[in-house]
Amino acid sequence: MSTTNKTATYKLRYEPDDDGLRFQDLTYEGNFVGLEPVPDGILGDKMMRRRAKSGVLEKVSKDEVLREQFTLDELNDLNNYLAWNIWDVLVMRATEGVSGMIPRQEYEILAFMHEFYRWPEILRMTTSEAGPQGVMDIGATARREIGTKVNCVHDWCIGAVGFGMGRCGLLALEAIQPDDYLEESNEILKFMQRVLWGKRHDGYILNSQDRYRCRIHEQEVLDQLVGELEDFEPDEPKHDAFTRFNAAATLLAFLDHFDCRLGLGDTGPYPLPDGRVLIVRDLFTNEEEFHWSDVCDHEDVPHCYTVVLAIDAEAMGLAEIRVNDISTTFTRPKNYVSHITGGAVFIREKWNTPMGEVRPVALDDLGPELEKLQQATLKLYSKLARMPRRELITNGHWVYFVDMILPHLRLAGTYEKACRDYDLWEIDQRVSNYYYEITKRKFAHEVVPTRIFSGKGYLPFSEKADLRSSKYRWL
């Protein structure tokens, strides 16, 4: 199908009756065996919400979010919706196979299971320290800041990865049964719901519920960003300099986070008065908690570059734009880069640099910043290439296990306590033992990806399940 008709139609996607475009040919079944298969995108969201038994997937009130306990129907609705959402954003990504560099499937599955086991008490402690409202306030900080890891992908990972994929992996390993760990599941999902609700402030929690929009920034923030935009034509050297910088920073952000999506965070699309659309992209190029980031320190690479992209929707013939729940922008037509006609770059030196000290960089001054990125990328690659397989898996696992909740713990002031009193940087003995299991019977490469990315492994809680249940028997 050709979408390059040069007339922007993307606004039609925001009409209530519009079902959006299909970005892939595959369909989803999940726990709805025998029912009509569910596609990706806006139509998929509509179908999944129609199948819900509770109202948890519609706009919910602050009081509902503050409530401590989900009902069983709400837990199952969230489980089913997240399973579809995971499929929606990851089923095609997950075809990427082996890395040749980092054993990602291995580190991912270990981290999923570790999170499901150990996050609940850390999140419970954080909720106790900050209070339920305080957790929502952590989410709300993202409305006023750039260069913050309190973003779509991190917030989504709490529930989709820590609960969804973690429980799915342990069920596949037959380490748990479907009605185990309800109390812990509630703890994880409540934390996710509160952060996301506080961030979005429109009653939804996920971008897919809002036709893949993540328009969270307050107008004052957007005005500051737009005020630094430099306009250019796609064939000007400034376009090349800006897009090369964006690509190089994206690459290092991926590499510093062991080839995972935690290194980048998009918000938007924000409509500009002149008809263009704005994407605000945080690229986390130096996470100080990772010991391998020392090469980034040596090159004086900051914690985050925020890249602001203005896309000429009309010239592109933009038919649909999605900022999905793992903070990534996809469009139809796919190539929005050649239609970027304005850009700005900001630097946040450290994760807690005050917003007033975040500084813009003129596009003509990007040369030295690009050089830093390239040097750090080469040095980090050389460093990773020398790491033994076991170390690569362990480190990749740390990226998931720690970084997915790191921004929330930092803002709650509980990160040090989690390290000191809850052994955050230790690997649970159960998960250590799983290391030797996951390479057997194609568990990491076939069994888990099949169940996680097809949606077949997210078994529902049964009607007999007790909301108070943990796991009491290891038989």
């Binding site: 095609m92 990427e96 196979g97 082996v98 040749g100 980092i102 390239q374 690659y381």
Partner: protein
């Protein structure tokens, strides 16, 4: 004259139609050696996975074109090739073979056949289509 030798997912639409001799990269040392050789621009790179980190240095320096044997535009390498505007055809399959990549259940013979068919051959990438990227064997490339 040239003929289509392989097809796959087109990572993004572009009028660029790079040509080069296919070079298969198997290990990080292969990647580093290619950069050090100073001959990166002469090659269309063939890799097995669709992940980003493996090709990080060549993306950074500037690759001419990329072929992968797994992955999709939504994979990390698909995203990065779009951002770098490096033409990239993903999950290629040989046009004269029925063997196609299936995640988790594709044996080594599938990958080896593609490497054997393409390595050292001069090819041109056609990435103008919305969905399909095509690999043409150049006349003097067989």
């Amino acid at each position: 004259m040239s003929s289509i030798v392989a097809e796959g997912y087109n990572a993004f639409e572009t009028k660029k139609a790079p040509t080069g001799v296919v070079k298969y990269l198997e290990t990080p040392n292969d990647v580093l050696a290619l950069i050090q050789s100073g001959r990166l621009k002469e090659h269309i790179l063939l890799v097995r996975g669709g992940t980003t980190t493996f090709l990080a240095p060549v993306l950074s320096v500037g690759a001419t074109g990329i072929l992968t044997m797994s992955g999709a535009p939504e994979s990390h390498l698909g995203i990065l090739s779009r951002e770098f505007q490096t033409p990239c055809v993903m999950t290629i399959g040989l046009t004269d073979s029925d063997s196609r990549y299936q995640p988790g259940s594709t044996d080594d013979a599938h990958f080896e056949a593609i490497v054997q068919r393409l390595e050292g051959k001069r090819v041109r990438l056609d990435c103008h289509d919305d969905d399909v990227g095509r690999v043409y064997l150049e006349e003097n490339g067989a």
